[in-house]
């Protein structure tokens, strides 16, 4: 059998590893079989992850996109093709603008505050002091608490008459009377934002703590001996060294916050009116209460598009500017 180029490649390596009494041709055939077996193995290895991805990501996503172009209801469950009607209705509705605005305020405020709070607490908890281990374990509590429990807890904290928030704020003379922070449209969004910041910041703390401690002390020493003050050391040495972690953490918290459902649902169910309605709560309302899968699907697609645009722009911007270096 005249060896092909491919076989020639194989035969070079084979020539060195001939079994005793084996002709080179036999050895080539053996290697070819091995090669085929390896290819089959590779295909076999790649199938389960692709099947899983297809079943768990691609199919639901494609189905949501399809649904967003259809109209159905509880009593007429078979989806009828509606073209762009859902999108048209959404993009011209006041509710959509409210949901979009709330989602943006909610995400930006929560992520920004979690970044600052996470960074500050990470640096504080990295200092050497007594009881630091206890504090470090306690700071994770909000993060591990189930969202529903946290929601109920904050609802109690905000209770106009029995809650400690008004007791403290009133005692300090900051508020007059007994405002219902969750019960009035003007303050409800801010109130759930504060709860969400508290709930989520420990993850940032943990990430930044690990990253902060990974910055070599020699670097800081060197900067100090060059005459940098503490702030300059932080800004020009510590922060750039932490940049990769910060980048990832901010991206993750943004996506999580944007999609975070439990807290708002438990605390206000999107009310009063639509004042705390964000994408996930509104999608839930349309899908499971109004049973309008088409509209819910369109809201879902819009939120995926928004997040994708953000992610792409964010990553490209960071790559261009070299991150936070």
């Amino acid at each position: 059998m005249p060896p092909t180029v491919r076989n020639a490649d194989v035969s070079i390596s084979v020539a060195e590893r001939l079994a005793p009494g084996e002709a080179p041709d036999q050895a080539v055939a053996r290697e070819k079989r091995r090669h085929h077996r390896q290819t089959a193995l590779r295909v076999l290895c790649i199938v389960p992850p692709i099947a899983l991805l297809g079943a768990l990501v691609v199919y639901p996503l494609a189905n949501a996109v399809y649904l967003s172009f259809t109209k159905s209801s509880f009593i007429n469950p078979d989806p009828d093709w509606a073209g762009l009607a859902n999108y048209q209705a959404i993009l011209t509705s006041d509710t959509f603008l409210t949901v979009l605005k709330n989602s943006l305020i909610w995400t930006v405020a929560v992520v920004a505050a979690q970044f600052v709070l996470g960074l500050a607490s990470a640096i504080l908890l990295s200092q050497k002091f007594k009881g630091r281990l206890v504090l470090r374990s306690m700071v994770i509590l909000p993060w591990i608490m189930p969202g529903v429990i946290a929601g109920v807890l904050w609802k109690l904290l905000y209770d106009p008459y029995l809650g400690p928030v008004n007791a403290v704020a009133g005692g300090l003379g900051l508020v007059d009377g007994n405002p219902a922070w969750l019960g009035q449209a003007s303050t409800a969004l801010a109130a759930v934002i504060i709860a969400a910041i508290w709930k989520g910041f420990p993850l940032s703390t943990i990430m930044y703590m690990a990253s902060y401690q990974g910055v070599p002390n020699e670097l800081r020493e060197a900067a100090r001996s060059d005459g940098a003050n503490a702030w300059q050391v932080f800004l020009h040495v510590t922060l750039p060294a932490m940049a990769p972690t910060i980048r990832t953490t901010v991206l993750l918290t943004t996506v999580w916050t944007f999609n975070y459902f439990d807290l708002v649902y438990v605390m206000t169910a999107g009310g009063p009116g639509t004042s705390t309605e964000i994408f996930p709560t509104y999608i839930y309302r349309e899908a499971f209460q109004n049973v309008r899968y088409g509209v819910a699907g369109a809201y879902g697609v819009i939120s995926v598009v928004l997040l994708s645009i953000f992610t792409v722009v964010y990553l490209r911007q960071l790559n261009k500017s070299g991150g936070l270096d």
Partner: protein, 425 residues
């Protein structure tokens, strides 16, 4: 052969994943999905004051004895999740054979073809007789001239709970609670002593309780949600008056009514913060343990010169349209509709008149008030889009709490309701 180890592991893991997934899927399914099953599944919501499992166990034992070879599986879910679970299961074709449905969902499920009409089976039944049930409960099963379920329990929104101690402290006679809206406003004003206590606790959060509670104000004033043709009639002058009454009472209620659900308002009452609240008789179980003062109930006040009309609520037993054991499913409903059994699986008032009246007399304080309120009640609109109409109503309630003009709010809401009705007819 070490290089085979990893893929083999991945393969095993993938296999495990798949088997776990199908395992879950298979488990959550039920008798209705597999042909000729010997398992009858029934779903019910969890109820507050009682271990329903205990009640069902007796009925199930009896049923299984009478139908050898069949087993009955009872599954209960918290009310908050019940509708979501049911929607997903029914849509996926894995719903239970028999289920309890909130009255206001029954027409919706019927219109969607998810449950089957029971007229023929009821006609041939020795156990289930229309006249044995409370009239309002039976009516809630009627949709497009067919009967879609058998009432399991029944109650009315609502009675007025009041704190007699606070009445005395405010110089009011606790034996003469207000009976008209103007007396109600006066009493609320006199009882109002913020921030220690308030005249009235009002439900107003974004859920069904805000609709059904304010329905009783509307009905009492002669208003309605839908007219006889099924068109929206939410902005009638009667309804405007009813919601103005509601808005006026907010002056004497704790801040944050827009976030106050049923349980929050009950807490206000049991904590002595609210002197009066509107809620149903099922809350007496909570009051008995949580209210440490002289609490009483009364028929809620009505507009001057009119009678109080409550809004009915309750749960029906229905049969899955896709059940392949529908005869047995109906027999299970028959079993559950015997007076003793119906009482055993209920912490709400049994829908059979005899069992219901006995239940109220045995378990409730001031049973005569509850029976009066029950007799007064009207069902909420029997519309296949009721849940959507109710959400519009809830938003309107929240706007009204926020201080919006009642007349224009109801006009907007009524237009939105009509839009929903038109787009689904």
């Amino acid at each position: 052969m070490t290089r085979f180890k990893r893929p083999a592991l991945i393969g095993a893991a993938a296999l495990a994943c798949v088997s776990v997934m199908t395992g879950c899927g298979g488990d959550s399914g039920s008798g209705s999905s597999s042909g000729g099953s010997k398992v009858i599944t029934i779903w019910d919501q969890e109820q507050s004051a009682k271990d329903i499992a205990q009640g069902y166990a007796t009925v199930v034992k009896q049923f299984e004895k009478e139908h050898p070879g069949y087993t009955v599986k009872v599954e209960t879910f918290p009310f908050a999740q019940y509708r979501d679970k049911m929607l997903v299961a029914m849509k996926g074709g894995t719903g239970p054979d028999v289920m309890t449905l909130d009255e206001v969902w029954t027409p919706e499920f019927a219109a969607a073809g998810l449950i089957q009409p029971l007229d023929d089976q009821i006609k041939g039944s020795d156990v289930i007789k229309q006249d044995d049930f409370f009239k309002g409960a039976w009516e809630s099963n009627q949709y497009q001239d067919k009967t879609w379920g058998v009432p399991l329990n029944f109650d009315v929104w609502e009675e007025m709970y009041y704190n007699a101690d606070l009445f005395k402290a405010a110089g009011l006679d606790p034996d003469k609670p207000p009976t008209t809206w103007s007396e109600w406003n006066d009493a609320a004003k006199k009882l109002n002593n913020p921030p220690n206590s308030f005249g009235m606790g009002l439900i107003g959060c974004k859920d069904e309780s805000s609709s059904v509670m304010t329905d009783s104000l509307i009905f009492s004033n002669g208003g309605e949600i839908l007219d006889a043709n099924g068109d929206a009639a939410f902005d009638s002058p009667e309804n405007v008056e009813a919601y103005e009454q509601y808005q006026g009472l907010l002056d004497y209620s704790p801040n944050g009514s827009a976030g106050a659900c049923e349980q929050d308002v009950v807490n206000q009452f049991t904590a002595g913060k609210a002197a009066m609240i509107l809620d149903g008789s099922w809350q007496q179980d909570t009051m008995k343990t949580a209210a440490k003062f002289d609490w009483r109930i009364a028929l809620p006040p009505a507009p001057d010169g009119k009678d109080f009309v409550g809004a009915l609520g309750g749960w029906n037993l229905a049969v899955n349209a896709k059940s392949d054991n529908s005869d047995l499913a109906f027999q299970l409903i028959e079993e559950l509709s015997k007076p003793d059994n119906q009482a055993a699986v209920n912490s709400l008032i049994p829908a059979l008149q005899s069992a219901g009246e006995k239940f109220v007399n045995d378990n409730r304080k001031q049973p005569e008030v509850i029976l009066d309120a029950l007799a007064s009640g009207r069902p909420r609109p029997a519309s296949p889009v009721y849940p959507q109409l109710s959400q519009i109503q809830q938003s309107a309630v929240q706007d009204i709490i926020g201080g919006a003009d009642v007349k224009s709010t109801l006009k907007d809401a009524s237009d939105q309701m009509q839009e929903v009705i038109d787009s689904n007819s």
